[in-house]
Amino acid sequence: MSDAKAQQVALAQLSAAIERAAVDLGLGEEPARFIQALEEGADVVEPQASAELAPGSRTLGKDADRPRARRERR
């Protein structure tokens, strides 16, 4: 396959993948929500809480009473 043909194929594949995945993107979806996702997703383990964990501690366990990442609003 020539370089130009290979590039066309790669381009078409990437474009199709984005088109498929973006078919139901909400109107309010914008790139800055990525940073928001990181900040909101970081809501649980405070530095000192992590440092205070003792061996055998269940602080990070399934039953720990801690906030979860917020649910996404569509």
Binding site: M1, D3, A6, Q7, A10, L11, L14, S15, A17, I18, E19, A21, A22, L25, G26, E29, E30, P31, A32, R33, F34, I35, Q36, A37, L38, E39, E40, G41, A42, V44, V45, P47, Q48, S50, A51, E52, L53, A54, P55, G56, S57, R58, T59, L60, G61, K62, R68, A69, R71, E72
Partner: protein, 467 residues
Amino acid sequence: MMDWTIVSLAAAIRQGKLSAVEAVTACLEQIDRHDGQLRAFITVDAEGALARARALDADAAAGRWQGPLHGVPLAYKDLCYIRGLPTSCGTKTAEYFTAEHDATAVHRLAAAGAVTLGKLNMTELAMGPFGDNAHHGHAKNPWRAGHASGGSSSGSGVAVAAGMALGALGTDTGGSIRLPSACCAIAGLKPTYGRVSRAGVMPLSWSNDHVGPMARSVHDVALLLQVIAGRDPLDATSSARPAADYAGALEHGIAGLRVAVPANYFFHGLDAEMGAGVRRAIGVLEGLGAQISEVSVPEPDVMSDVCNVISRCEGAATHTRLVRERPEEVQPVVRARIDLGFRISAHDYLQALRLRARLARRFVREVFAEADVLAVPAIPEPAPLIADAIAGAPEEVARRQGHFSRLTRPFNGFGVPALALPCGFTEAGLPLAFQIVGRPFDEATVLRAGHAYEQAAGWLRRRPDLD
């Protein structure tokens, strides 16, 4: 130098058992002995390093300690701007990248007492996962002759594994810290997007670029991260969130830690020895008290495509002048990657940025609802022979490159911290490696899990035979 870690060397200097000059001299001797073959460095600043070491020894004699890295010799990927040293970014042009200030991460390490040995080899323009470089020589895997070092922070991986530097900085846009760490059997962390300033570092894709530490041990990585993490007014994308006590949390064990293992994507098509090694590592974590569960990671393949679209476009924008004005200077495979970026539509680029936000939210929500970290392989197979990796037409090489970085690239898109660390060796002596991935800004838990594994598994004691 092969037996020191940053932690042990810094302690020895502090206790007067070793001087900074002795430490730097030992690194320079190691570079002299082995870098002709391994090609870890592009620039060695022997005079500057020795002068700085002498000044630090004088400070120590007078009771003045610069910080936790006093006298520790480090080296930096050759896309970190350091005044007085060339920054080629792996290109043919010695001064390809300049900045108004020294890279913030380098500046912070120096302020903590580190000594700069020089600038490290890398894949041209940080594009490519194997560590090949036609201009500066291919960085070679210290564990087995002829095999790839991993890239694009290839020299960082080789220099640390071969004892030429105690630690290094790398950058990671699709796996470029974690791939050489995995191939060279060292620890390397891609921090959360925004955790470490990128000011003074050549951008490749500003949406996906991360600066992070590479060192022999997880404890060393934690120490380096402690120094470089935090808000930087010179980088608007750096987070104001305070850094945790990364090293302080290491010794608390992982009993009860919830470790998720993906049921989809990450173990598919994996080399048998690699798969077995990573499963054994997960078994070790379980033996240390971690709770293992299975999870379905939402759409890592889509995130990989999203990252590709974003990185190609932003990379093309960054390097337009080089490719348009001096295309003959750029290796064909690198030029092909940039050319692709010129042709992706603005519509696809913007849709990819919007998709990334949605996918990242979904990833954090679904993966970390019932888990604290995720354990996945870092590379799909052991480091290939360099000759095999770069053989063939550009599209063949590009396909191989995409395959080799398929396990690291999604986490650049998700923006979460990911630590690569060794988990054994193949029968042929090549490193096996896995990643521990955490929720945003929870590097402390990622490093704690990595440290616990490292201490239990014992791979840290193994050294490459360089002779």
